[in-house]
Amino acid sequence: MARVIVDVMLKPEILDPQGQAIARALPRLGFSGVGAVRQGKRFELELEGPADEAALAEVRKMAETLLANTVIEDYTVRVTE
């Protein structure tokens, strides 16, 4: 059983009000030294079989059509442990 991670982030040109709100809050909470924050999503998929090329191709299709909205988001797929 393999675990695949899909990270989905807003495209750089799309405004990210959640990230901005965090960046603005940090100094108020006494944290300095952070320039910018962006917030995205992280999906952990448990595959029933091994994370071979075929399985990964399938996950990429899932990411492309479902997990990310490619009009506004980019995604990356990677295998873990």
Binding site: E13, I14, L15, P17, L66, L67, N69, V71
Partner: protein, 227 residues
């Protein structure tokens, strides 16, 4: 002549379907319930995709609904000219289904917002707004957490240049939408999506303090009769 038949789609988690059906009745048309899991548009003359939290708005608003069996029928039908309107979650579904360009994202305020909103009808050349006057200002409720319309610069420019912006917020932008966009249409003008809720502004007694939403429903009647 038999009454025009407007389909109202219910997905799991749809909330405003009864409201939409009632508004359809109020203007003298027949509301036909359509079920997400059916491959059947029941021969309706137009389709209303109502608001709500289909599939809990999990993942992204509208992302899962767009794959419902009914959408397999609706997408080609809309392409062939069937009048379709999506309000709120319905608008989000239309964008996810690529029947309309762009996307709806988290409100800039990061809060859900329910308020009576002044908007301007920017385009009457659509199946759903032809009963209004160009530039007419009306009040409709908005109620959503993810209604900030975004699109690439080119898409935005094309929408503006082509007159595809149908409704625009005035007197305050409730969600930070680019160019104050509240609603858009497709190239052909048969598909319209907007965040405000015309179906909640159709009766004196209940809902928003306006009946301005009726125009969307009388438009479709007019459209069907004229057609």
């Amino acid at each position: 002549m038999s009454a025009a038949r407007v389909g109202v789609v219910t997905f799991p988690g749809t909330l405003d379907d009864q409201d939409a059906a009632r508004a359809v009745h109020l203007v003298g048309a027949q509301a036909v319930p359509l079920w997400h899991a059916d491959h059947d548009l029941k021969g309706v003359d137009a389709v209303f995709l109502p608001g709500g939290f289909s599939y809990g708005d999990y993942l992204r608003c509208g992302a899962i609904s767009r794959f419902a069996p009914i959408m397999d029928e609706l997408i080609p039908a809309a392409g062939a000219g069937l009048p379709v309107i999506g309000t709120c979650n319905g608008f989000q579904i239309l964008c996810e289904a690529h029947l309309l360009p762009g996307a709806l994202t988290r409100n800039a305020s990061l809060h859900y917002v329910c308020r009576d909103q002044r908007v301007r009808i920017e385009q009457t050349a659509t199946a759903w707004t032809n009963a209004f006057d160009q530039g007419q200002e009306i009040v409709l409720p908005v109620k959503h957490g993810e209604g900030r319309y975004v699109a690439s610069d080119e898409t935005l420019a094309a929408l503006e240049a082509g007159g595809h912006v149908v409704v625009r917020y005035v007197g305050g932008n409730p969600n930070g939408s680019l160019n104050g966009i509240a609603g858009i249409r497709n190239e052909a003008g048969n598909v319209v999506g907007l965040m405000p809720h015309p179906e909640h502004a159709v009766e004196e007694l209940v809902g928003a303090p306006s009946t301005d939403g009726l125009g969307f429903f009388t438009s479709i009647l007019k459209n069907l009769v004229d057609a």
